[in-house]
């Protein structure tokens, strides 16, 4: 079965991110396909590459990054939600003349159409809301 996941909650502020990550892992363990993880609303904060949680605590950013690299799963951040919250990749930072950027290429910046496309292309679109 083809799955996609939508995450609406930020890291640490709700269970959404970790539950989504565990579900994503279970999808692949169950021999299903994971088309895309789409981060929307406060979910875009999961792409913040500057997270520095205490060393003995779960590092959500690193976990998403490792998951994506290991399984070649696309992590997509909604550009409208991201800009509003200061989550910019290098290109957007340059476009808006900002000195810093928060997103790395592990997260792709794209439009809301990717969420709708995930719904159209997948057998199941599972949302993790805050």
């Amino acid at each position: 079965m083809i799955f996609s996941i939508a995450v609406f909650g930020g890291p640490y502020s709700s269970q959404a991110s970790l539950s989504a990550l565990r579900f994503a892992d279970a999808v692949l363990r169950g021999d299903h396909t994971l088309l895309r993880v789409f981060f929307y609303a406060d979910g875009v904060y999961n792409g913040n590459s500057l997270l520095v949680p205490p060393q003995d605590e779960l590092h959500l950013y690193r976990q998403w990054q490792q998951f994506s690299r290991q399984h070649q799963v696309e992590l997509v951040v909604c550009i409208a939600s991201a800009l509003r919250r200061g989550m910019l990749d290098k290109n957007e930072a340059a476009r808006y003349e900002k000195k810093n950027h928060t997103l790395t290429p592990d997260f792709t910046v794209s439009g809301l159409g990717q969420l709708i496309d995930a719904g159209l292309q997948s057998d199941r679109l599972v949302t993790f809301r805050a």
Partner: protein, 117 residues
Amino acid sequence: MKKFLFVQEQPPHGGILGQEGLDAILMGSAFAQCTVLLLEDGIYQVLGNQQTDELGSKDYSVTYQALRDYGVEQIFCPASHLQRRGIDIENLVVPVQAISDAEVTALLNSHDVILSF
């Protein structure tokens, strides 16, 4: 074509998720058949005569009026949720169909993709 049901549960102000949900409905309408279900405080998103100047937030209820132009024809709300809030359907900015709880279940079951905000 797949049928999308967008569920809006958030009140319109105090958080931006409702507005971002509406953005998703607009995007969805370009690619799929879309229906809207307003649950609980989500019904306040289409309440008329909102004055948001003092709130520092946008009155996006007007965008709901544009949904029909995007092919989103049907907006539902459980009659019980309207009743509990003392909201008269006449005071909403768009035509909303009040339905029974059983009809809500049928609505959820008859759509392929459900996105809940």
